[in-house]
Subunit: 362 residues, 4 copies
Amino acid sequence: MKRKIGILTGGGDCPGLNAVIRGVVKSAIIRRGWDVVGIEDGFDGFLGPGKFRPLGLAEVRGILPRGGTILGSSNRGNPFSCPVERDGRMVETDITDQAVETIKGLGIDALVAVGGDGSLKIAMELMKKGVPIVGIPKTIDNDLMETDVTFGYNTALETATYALDKLHSTAESHHRVMIMEVMGRYAGWIALESGISGGADVILIPEIPFDLVTVCRAIDERRRRGSAFSILVVAEGAYPRGGSRVVRNRADERHQVERLGGIGDFVSRELISCLDMDTRVTVLGHLQRGGSPSTFDRCLGSRFGISAVQLIEQEQYGQMVCLRGRDIRSVPIEKAVRRLKLVNPRGQMVTAAEELGIAVGR
Amino acid sequence: MKRKIGILTGGGDCPGLNAVIRGVVKSAIIRRGWDVVGIEDGFDGFLGPGKFRPLGLAEVRGILPRGGTILGSSNRGNPFSCPVERDGRMVETDITDQAVETIKGLGIDALVAVGGDGSLKIAMELMKKGVPIVGIPKTIDNDLMETDVTFGYNTALETATYALDKLHSTAESHHRVMIMEVMGRYAGWIALESGISGGADVILIPEIPFDLVTVCRAIDERRRRGSAFSILVVAEGAYPRGGSRVVRNRADERHQVERLGGIGDFVSRELISCLDMDTRVTVLGHLQRGGSPSTFDRCLGSRFGISAVQLIEQEQYGQMVCLRGRDIRSVPIEKAVRRLKLVNPRGQMVTAAEELGIAVGR
Amino acid sequence: MKRKIGILTGGGDCPGLNAVIRGVVKSAIIRRGWDVVGIEDGFDGFLGPGKFRPLGLAEVRGILPRGGTILGSSNRGNPFSCPVERDGRMVETDITDQAVETIKGLGIDALVAVGGDGSLKIAMELMKKGVPIVGIPKTIDNDLMETDVTFGYNTALETATYALDKLHSTAESHHRVMIMEVMGRYAGWIALESGISGGADVILIPEIPFDLVTVCRAIDERRRRGSAFSILVVAEGAYPRGGSRVVRNRADERHQVERLGGIGDFVSRELISCLDMDTRVTVLGHLQRGGSPSTFDRCLGSRFGISAVQLIEQEQYGQMVCLRGRDIRSVPIEKAVRRLKLVNPRGQMVTAAEELGIAVGR
Amino acid sequence: MKRKIGILTGGGDCPGLNAVIRGVVKSAIIRRGWDVVGIEDGFDGFLGPGKFRPLGLAEVRGILPRGGTILGSSNRGNPFSCPVERDGRMVETDITDQAVETIKGLGIDALVAVGGDGSLKIAMELMKKGVPIVGIPKTIDNDLMETDVTFGYNTALETATYALDKLHSTAESHHRVMIMEVMGRYAGWIALESGISGGADVILIPEIPFDLVTVCRAIDERRRRGSAFSILVVAEGAYPRGGSRVVRNRADERHQVERLGGIGDFVSRELISCLDMDTRVTVLGHLQRGGSPSTFDRCLGSRFGISAVQLIEQEQYGQMVCLRGRDIRSVPIEKAVRRLKLVNPRGQMVTAAEELGIAVGR
């Protein structure tokens, strides 16, 4: 049966989105002869005019190695819940129905929604209003349940490890404490895995509120054993025991004025007061989202895209594709968005870090 | 209980071996206060004198990002089966007992054997003679059963994909057919996954004997649709339907005289005779084994090393560590070496390639 | 004065060609409001129909980091000298006049010819027939006189050095002699500079016919001093003293059947007969031409493109842009193509190699 | 004549320092049989005890591809001018004589001083007190006169361009203004050249105090022409016309508390007030100093090291090695440190940027 499917990419961009789009387009067109419509700028695309375009093979040519998303994205929360003036007052109004109308008007039979936690929840709202949806998980923090890993995460790890390799030389040459702040608001996966791969000495993650005394002691012990430098990897959402989270607001803020209050800077100031050592902070920031996707992410993104089309073919709506071991499977979207996949403080990965002599701040 | 453990790396080198060694050394020393002995050049190390050295924290400093193995390796088959002169004739003799004596003489309580199929089989022979063994899988081809993947494979994929990205520009600029031959004697994983990630048009693997007519037709169809170039990825062990394998002997040959007979060249010659197009062959060869390991391989290698020490602590001898999903587990070595993990011609990965419009030669 | 200029890229592709094209298009359009016509597939583009297209800002968007040339190229010698049937016999005929007619017909005021030795000579023929020409040097071998260096060369060096870094780990782990064959038919620049940067032990270049005894001795001495491995970098045009060149024909051959006879293989076989060591050959080949250009090449290519437009503005025809120190200058094309820029066997670079203990085969 | 030479690396670390050290050691030992003494932590090494060690071939093995400096460095200004207590008060005292005594005591015949502006001035003080000195220029900002370029700069450019490539994808996907702050306190070379290579839309450098209105207009015009994102590269020393420099103090400050006042953040805040667009700031910071040196820097560093040894052999003291075109030359140190090599606002490089449509803020 010939179908017309839509695809959109929501939330922060990450490497591999174009591989997903290409996978959807190629498998829909080459094998099935379907039509594909690209919706621009995530769910925002259903609200503005002229934000749809047909995606053919020509449109996806050469995009596999490219970062970002050719469809654009948006990460400003739910665009379907917006303030509308009524009786002289602004009232938060659900305009999901308007989006549903648009989708029907376009003749879209099913929608592939690529996004994280937030985007998938919006997708489920559309689903409840009758739009057949298939989800593809996207989270650079790797904090989505029900999938071993998502595309983009591996590239972010490569970027963070590459940065740690670079910082090592300066740390060693100048006997410094180098602090690198990486992404991970609630989940410390990037910090933990890049820290292990980059040979960090201390890794601080949101799941283990850290004790500054322990951190200072770890660095001091290294110094006494002859290593006059240390490398710390700090997830942006890490916070001191008894303290509270001082994360920057990624999506809502126009300018990151809170940088001074970033956790990397906080740790730096605290270390100076307990150790007589130079410290330097590097905030990796958006570099983690960018660039050509790694092999792993290109392959996984392509496979996710293909599987989403297969799910539509089988009319398995409301499902999200996922990776289990080496296989692509699917699970109900609602199961995946119920809660975040956090690092287990007693799990294998944290234990591995500690076995390697890395302090995790406890 | 304080222990003295030995570690050796056998078979072809691959990125991540040093991460394994570092993981073993750090977890044995820091947490447990054990002693570690490094055996040089794989199992050969048990035969020559002076091929052992204590491995302390200083020896593993800075080796995490480095390719190769600081212990050296050997890939000349089983060194314990060697020709000895007896009554004026050379007789193949098992000198495993001699190795066992050496191990006992060194006071080694348990041995961590890092290696592929061949090395693990030798390790099992030692085990039968009373040497407590724990295995760590190593195969750049990713063809070992019982583990989702091994370290080194991901770096090899990155290298192959990086090469495909490079070949694309020349192929496109000169309207050529570029053929890249990659590793994979029995298993086509590298060809398949790098081909998907590198946007190949044709992928030939040992598991699917290829039909040249199909291959020519795929390239010709691309040309007729306006793409005057094509990229082929060919596993070294691929062969034409009805034909036989023309692989180069990696380990035994001193010089790769058979290069002309390599499958890449064979395919090139055949394509010229059926298509009027320029072709060029690139044999990626040893580049796939080298270089700094990717994040994935550094992390996996470290975790494998740590887990091997944990297995020794629990006296779970005869086991091999493995990756299942995101977890490190263990399986009996004998189960892992029983047969190779080949690509399933009807499995997800081949299907994904075909969904993307890639010809797999059938 | 508004002008219409043409641009073509001839000869083998190399990283930075798209930077040149973008530089020409941007500087012609943004500042001067000129028109730019892209000619496809080098000088071949003047012969076939439909091989011209207007190049606007949209056409050059996003091409800066991309390898190859969006215009395509051709490296089959002079297309204007071709066999034409006359009186039943094939006669070599000069069809340059036909190309001149095409150029006039297109209303092209001046032509930017990007190419090496061969392409620039063809450009001068067009110049003699009245076509105003400005040349941009292109040679991945860096063998063109009158410019310190050309774009593409630096990227090729990076690729070769990256490969040497990779081969080092295998060489060291397996106590092998690794031979890497790089480009450089007449000039050994790539071999020499990548060999120095990649820590090679032996470098063989066309400018210094090598003595095999010297090469063997160098490797043997390393072994006796405890380094059981060696890395050789061999330019494809290197040859033994008293012997003759055994290069592969890059442009004319459809299939590189002579690979077995490549100089890397020759050296390998010879080394085996004088040393009892494993050797492995890697032919880097087309990988050197491909991929995203390095910063240096992107910047130099952009500046060359801009300067070519400036030369046209000043009506300085017959000139070729070039790099001297940090400045872009220009020289008469005929001066640049008179002879090749070879490595001086007594010059600084060879001396540097020898000071580092690298054997150059003499 | 057999000599004993010393070598030290002063100032901020940069990629290629190890290539220099290796070049000095190899050329001194292999060809000349000299002795080499490494002094640790720059000029600080002459003050503390036990900060010298003999450098042989074994010490420089494998360091060519490694970032940083195996000798350590120091960038805390002149260690020979230090506060000493006298009569109960702290008095700034010149202890250069003490260093000279140490050098004589070590039997060092000549000293190779690798460093920037500051370190070379200290070296000249030692020279005046009778220590034979040869200088090697080191400045990651490329702001040292008398040399076309120094090692480390090319790697820093690669890092900055790589980061710009990454930021491009996010900028494009989210229609954002991405601001990247790079090194360059007085000289804008890194910003200018990486901005050209990375396809920036605006480049702000210290040599051209910028007009915010011009910058806003440039971004706004792009938006009106349909490019909803822009990339800005800002040198840390850039400042608004009529304003003053707000640089962070690299060397003296223990913690970069002024980050909020960094020029990148300043520009970000100003842009938000004149444009209704998202902006994001990335401070590249120490990433620019780190990592494996590029081919160019490995080769240049090696050649500088060799040339320094040749200068000592010729007793050409007080000279600094330098690059001119493709050749290594030498100049008097005092000539090189007289003033900084700044970007010429009317020179080729700025003009090139403007020809490409890049706004430089004027």
